[in-house]
């Protein structure tokens, strides 16, 4: 066996023995697509599917890390173990990143049932959401009961990350009232639960009402068949929102989930029990409706698509012969003797062996 193979076996043994350093290294291997990444993920695949994955997204400073810490504490008091992935934007200028989410998570930092990992958004091969999903897989395989994924919900890629979770909590604050208009579409699409945090500040109730109206509008549009262009009927905002009741959120007309709009003050833990029940209710809904199975299946499917994309790309563009051949075409391209489309077709057809991986089996 190769030296790499021995190291991989030792890592897997340490991982199975639940050594934190092995979990941490496994995540690094996945994050950086280091050699052995595919083999590691393949070995862990059969152990995944147990953890509930909860995304927490929203604008910077909304209190996501504070809320995540409160959730961790609550789950720990139920005897559940928790892995946390905190994704922070990378400085586009230098490629470096300052990852500060741990500062807020100090209360749970020494708990052996908690694992926290900070992740930069740097241009990961295969995209941030694919990498985050794989890291969540690794945490799931390690045996955590809950995996929390914190992302800054501003860009498209961050919203995609949120979508890799089973349940997505969108955290807003009274100050983000104006931002909602621009974030509306994306946030509405991904939010399973809204939390208006910093309810100790003025404006929380107004934002909560606005969000409820938006949730209602969306759900009635969806019921009428995705007609986004139709103007909403007036007057329905006056009806009681099903989530007004204190108990678990209702399932609307029974066929779809109506995202509850909760308020919280994460700093002192207010509203956390309600969030926990909403998350449990959402999980029940996901299980009972079959959506959970559906989503996980879709995730697995997307996973295969990602892997194919990645392999095609790396097999093609890390092949020196392909690069060299492409260079020989440049003169004809320049003079107009051929087109980028013809060259692309020819490149693909001459790379058939390369694409099946026969050429690089030795490196894997």
């Amino acid at each position: 066996m190769t030296a790499n193979g021995v190291a991989a076996d030792r890592l897997l043994a340490d991982f199975t023995a639940r050594k934190p350093a092995a979990l941490a290294r496994a995540i690094s291997i996945v994050e950086n697509h280091r050699p052995g990444c595919d083999r590691l993920l393949a070995a862990l695949h059969g152990r995944t599917g147990r953890a509930r994955r909860i995304g927490i997204t929203g604008p910077p400073g909304a209190g996501k890390s504070t809320l995540a810490t409160q959730l961790v504490r609550a789950y720990r008091s139920q005897g559940l173990t928790v892995g946390v992935v905190a994704v922070d934007p990378t400085s586009t200028f230098t490629g470096g990143a300052l990852l500060g989410d741990r500062i807020r998570m100090e209360q749970v930092a020494l708990d052996p049932g908690v694992y926290i990992r900070s992740l930069a958004t740097r241009g990961a091969l295969g995209g941030l959401s694919a990498t985050t999903r794989e890291i969540a897989d690794v945490m799931d395989a390690y045996g955590f009961d809950r995996v929390l994924i914190e992302t800054v919900g501003v860009g498209q890629s961050e919203l995609e990350v949120a979508r890799t979770a089973d349940s997505c909590v969108v955290v807003l604050v009274p100050e983000s009232g104006d931002a909602i208009q621009t974030l509306k579409a994306g946030l509405m699409e991904i939010a399973d639960i809204f939390v208006v945090n910093k309810a100790d500040r003025p404006g929380a109730d107004r934002l909560r009402s606005e969000l409820k109206v938006m949730v209602q509008m969306r759900s009635s549009r969806v019921r009428r068949g995705h007609d986004e262009s139709r103007a909403p009927r007036s007057g329905f905002a006056a009806h009681a929102h099903p989530s007004d009741a204190a108990g678990p959120p209702s399932l609307g007309d029974g066929s779809a989930w109506l995202p509850p709009v909760l308020t919280a003050a994460a700093a002192d833990g207010t509203g956390v029990p309600e969030l926990l029940s909403a998350l449990d209710a959402h999980h029940e809904y996901l299980s009972a409706s079959g959506v959970l199975v559906e989503r996980r299946r879709a995730r697995l499917r997307a996973r295969v698509v990602d892997v194919v994309d990645l392999r095609v790309r790396s097999r093609l563009w890390q092949d020196p012969d392909t690069e060299a051949w492409l260079d020989t075409q440049l003169a004809a391209l320049e003079s107009g003797g051929t087109t980028p489309f013809d060259v692309a077709d020819e490149l693909l057809s001459r790379s058939a062996r390369l694409l099946t991986g026969e050429a690089d089996d030795l490196h894997r």
Partner: protein, 139 residues
């Protein structure tokens, strides 16, 4: 083949003294040099530092120590990391540390330590050189 990747550094401020301006300046400088810096804030115990370093799988731990407790803090972090199988982590940092103490810590396995007033670019270069050499050894 080892793909090039950013250097991961944990920057922490152990001890009881009240401000972390120095540590924040260092953290920002390392980020600007292209590193991924996990910043954990003030009042970190050796246990918190070692736990975070293991969980974050960092290459380097940088400690800013002004309290004079360097002769206990550095060895303790080193020991905790070794207990978790992470004896490969570079431990560096700075503060008001007499040369004799620096030498003694170095013998125990602590990396280079920098006195107050050292430019951050010196620390950046030290970390980059150390990392490049380790990458070569692994290759």
């Amino acid at each position: 083949m080892t793909a090039s990747r950013p250097i991961r550094v944990l920057v922490a401020k152990p001890g009881l003294d009240g401000h972390d301006r120095g540590a924040k300046v260092v953290a920002a400088a390392l980020r600007d040099a292209g590193m991924e810096v996990v910043y954990t804030g003030l009042h970190q115990t050796p246990e918190m530092i070692a736990t975070a370093a293991v969980q974050e799988d960092v290459d380097v731990v940088g400690l800013s120590i002004l309290s004079g407790a360097h002769m206990t803090l550095f060895p303790r972090v080193l020991q905790l990391l070794r207990e978790q199988g992470r004896d490969d982590v570079l431990i560096t940092g700075g503060g008001i540390i007499p040369q004799d103490d620096m030498d003694a810590l170095h013998l125990q396995g602590v990396g280079k330590l920098f006195g107050p007033g050292t430019s951050t670019s010196e620390l950046v270069r030290y970390i980059q050189d150390w990392f490049a050499q380790r990458q070569r050894q692994e290759a």
